[in-house]
């Protein structure tokens, strides 16, 4: 399968001030081009505030972002016109940076529902197989065995939430998994566990797009494509050698070599705290 992003421009609306309810549109992605094929493992690196997480959210269909130009296609099919749930059922997955807490629904019921919806009305998940698989995945991620019975992310530590995202990925077996800073909030041991589990997903039907600004996670995941994103564009693509270079030299060399100033979009960063009205849960907005 092939996921292609062409000349993608994306805006976010921010409230200028609360009183007059006026909104301003800020462009965050300024023409992103990217091609992902199953069987490949990609990483996107770059300084904070350059649009990496925005790209992840837009591929999944987060309603807070407005695509102003460009296209995303999955095997030629227009992804941008698909609803969020449809994208998921077609094989796109987003491991979120700030996963939501939802009371009263157990992880197990949630994941089961998500698996069932992929089967359609006529087929049913074998409960026995589901439980076995869930137990196996939970233990591979070294999570507590009571996890299936706990409510979705409720009372989870930051690290537990991230592992829970990976658990869902393992259970749902997407074709394209976008991992949005899955390494933030993980300690060294957890980082290793998460990294190894992601790496184990590798295969001809799987492609991962790993968003990170540290190389640590990539010690455990063997990626073959590395992209560097600066100021809303992918400015450089290459292989693993880029990881090391960033690790050793940071991002300053990009300016020298490419003539691009990897400045952080300060305007976006300061305003993003009051993202559009839909962002009820402000800790889910892209503040950093």
């Amino acid at each position: 399968m092939k996921l292609v992003i062409k000349d993608l421009h994306v805006n976010v609306e921010t409230k200028e001030n609360v009183e007059n309810n006026k909104t301003t549109s800020i462009e965050i992605l300024k023409g992103v081009n990217l091609e992902l094929n199953t069987g490949e493992m990609h990483a996107i690196m770059g300084p904070n505030g350059t649009g990496k997480s925005t790209l992840a959210s837009v591929i999944m269909g987060d309603p807070r972002y407005i695509v102003t130009q460009g296209e995303i296609t999955l095997d030629g099919e227009d992804v941008l016109t698909m609803s969020v749930d449809e994208r998921s059922r077609k094989g796109i997955f987003l491991a979120m940076q700030y996963p939501n807490e939802i009371q009263g629904i157990t992880n197990s019921d949630f994941i089961k529902s998500a698996m069932q919806v992929r089967l359609g009305k006529d087929k049913h998940i074998s409960l026995f197989k589901f439980i076995k698989e869930m137990e196996k995945s939970v233990s591979e991620l070294k999570m507590n065995s009571d996890l299936p019975h706990r409510y979705i992310n409720e009372g989870f530590s930051g690290g537990e939430k991230k592992r829970n995202e990976i658990l869902q990925m393992k259970m749902l077996k997407p074709n394209f998994a976008i991992l949005d800073e899955i390494d933030s909030g993980l300690d060294v041991d957890a980082l290793k566990i998460v990294g190894e589990n992601v790496d184990a997903m590798k295969g001809e039907n799987f492609c991962s797009l790993i968003i990170t600004h540290y190389q640590r996670l990539l010690d455990y995941i063997n990626v073959d494509h590395v992209h560097i994103m600066v100021d809303g564009r992918i400015v450089l693509s290459g292989g693993k050698e880029l990881i090391q270079k960033i690790d050793q030299e940071g991002y300053d060399w990009i300016k020298a070599e490419l003539g691009i100033d990897p400045k952080i979009n300060q305007e976006y960063l300061t305003r993003s705290v009051s993202l559009g009205s839909c962002a009820l849960n402000t800790n889910n907005s892209e503040k950093k």
């Binding site: 269909g61 807070r64 969020v84 749930d85 998921s88 939501n100 939802i102 629904i105 749902l172």
Partner: protein, 487 residues
């Protein structure tokens, strides 16, 4: 203080403390009610429309009641004539009491076995699945069909334990001493207009007596169903749990749709003696043309526990505030409730906890949901009296408003009258979060299902307290009510 004096003081306190209940306004009747089927039943006897002293006498006479019950009915009726609607809550001035039929009898006797139940009635029950439910689960079925219990089956094991479970009419005849002792003692007819109305024309309802030390393990259960146009439903339930005993009673109801409004004014009285406990679970799903004005009250003596598990999904107008009077040292009251209001529905529900003795505690968890123009209010009263030292109460009221057409208010009345007690009150009102919807949908779950999941998760603290089959039914009801809820 001896027991008798103590009870008198308590009775006095109760009357002083409780001013209460009930309801209504003009109702709308073009509602798409999913259980709206009508079974053609030949009514055996009815009193015709309207209410007067003669009707009250006819009811009593028809039931062959002892004089003391007739006297009580007549006193209640004369009080009802004078009584005013509550000064608060929904406007009830549009109820026309002459438009209702106050008594209909559809089956001649209380049937002993399922085989004897008339076929039409069985058909109705089949539609709501009672026989299956009974086979699986019930320790005894007492099914209210119109005004009278038509089917009643006491399992032998209950009888062996000395538990009495019958309809209240039968109890008046078979256990007059017990009924006399308790009937109208915690909800006197003078309590409120609708308690007076109920006392005057009551019919049916369940009577339960659990003897000292007996723990009834399976829930006792009954279904109520209104099946006649404009017929009032005035059942009277009386539960007595003697010292150290325990019982769980489950009341369920669905009702068919009619073009005219229907009035329902039940009274439930529960007496829980020392060290005893009672749980009363109900999911009220009257069709959306019914005005439901219910007085439910329990009194807990020393170390007794009362739990109201109270679901409100149906009715056009519903006023219901299950109350616990914590009259004995260490008594405990719990109310866990949900209210769901959709188009043309007004749910004014809540709870009352009246602390009259030391070391008492209470907990209220209320979950409200409204959509499509529905109105849902939490109205509650917690009073910790002067004598109720070292007591505490915890109240949680959460509301989800699903769209901009719907409305919700939280109207708590909390009062502490001593220095060693405390009340905690938490309330939240929220909309369904876009982020939560996005999260669930990003795993492939469709928007309507995601919304439903969030709502089901929201009421989970209530649903988990229900017996399994009721939880399943609640699930289905919420699903029906949520259809087309995407906005």
């Amino acid at each position: 203080m001896n027991e008798k004096n103590k009870e008198q003081v308590i009775d006095k306190n109760i009357n002083k403390v409780l001013e209460d209940n009930s309801d209504l306004k003009e109702i709308i009747n073009d509602i798409d009610y999913k259980y709206g089927f009508v079974t053609d039943v030949e009514n055996v006897y009815d009193t015709g429309k309207g209410l007067n002293e003669d009707v009250v006498k006819k009811i009593s006479n028809y039931k062959n009641e002892p004089d003391w019950m007739l006297d009580l009915r007549l006193k209640a009726y004369s009080h009802f004539k004078k009584a005013k609607d509550p000064k608060w809550g929904p406007d009830l001035s549009d109820i026309n009491y002459d438009e209702y039929t106050y008594y209909i009898k559809s089956s001649k006797a209380v049937e002993k076995s399922w085989d004897d139940v008339p076929k039409e009635i069985k058909d109705t029950f089949d539609k709501i699945g009672i026989p299956e439910a009974e086979k699986k689960y019930l320790a005894g079925v007492s099914t209210q069909f119109e005004s009278e219990v038509v089917y009643h089956n006491n399992l032998k094991e209950l009888e062996d334990l000395g538990v009495i479970f019958c309809d209240t009419d039968t109890a008046v005849k078979k256990y007059p001493d017990l009924v006399k002792k308790y009937f109208g003692k915690i909800v006197p007819y003078s309590d409120n207009k609708f308690a007076a109305l109920n006392t005057a024309v009551w019919s049916g309802g369940s009577f339960i007596y659990v003897p000292k030390g007996v723990k009834v393990e399976k829930p006792l259960q009954s279904y109520f169903r209104i099946n006649s146009e404009l017929m009032g439903q005035f059942e009277r339930t009386l539960i007595i749990v003697d010292e150290g005993a325990s019982v769980h009673y489950v009341e369920g109801c669905t009702a068919p749709i009619y073009s005219k409004d229907s009035l329902h004014a039940a009274v439930v009285e529960i007496f829980i003696h020392k060290n005893a406990s009672c749980r009363y679970s109900t999911v009220q799903n009257w069709s959306n043309n019914i005005v439901n004005l219910v007085t439910k009250r329990a009194i807990c003596y020393d170390n007794a526990l009362m739990e109201w598990i109270d679901g409100n999904v149906g009715s056009a107008l519903n006023m219901k505030y299950p109350a616990c009077v914590l009259a004995g040292n260490g008594a405990k009251g719990v109310t866990i409730s949900i209210a769901f209001a959709s188009t043309n529905q007004y749910q004014d529900t809540g709870a009352k906890m009246i602390h009259l003795a030391p070391n008492t505690s209470s907990k209220i968890i209320s979950k409200s949901i409204c959509r499509e123009g529905g109105v849902v209010n939490y109205r509650g009263k917690v009073k910790i009296g002067k004598e109720a030292s070292h007591s505490n109460s915890h109240i949680e009221c959460d509301t989800i408003i699903l769209d901009n057409l719907s409305k919700s208010d939280t109207i708590p009345h909390n009062e502490v009258n001593n220095k060693t007690s405390r009340i905690e009150h938490e309330a939240t009102v929220s909309k369904v979060s876009e982020d939560q919807l996005f999260y669930l949908m990003s795993r492939g779950i469709k928007k309507e299902d995601a919304l439903q999941m969030i709502v089901m998760g929201f009421i989970e603290p209530f649903a988990k307290e229900l017996p399994m089959e009721y939880a399943v039914e609640l699930n289905r009801l919420i699903q029906l009510n949520m259809e087309g809820a995407i906005g």
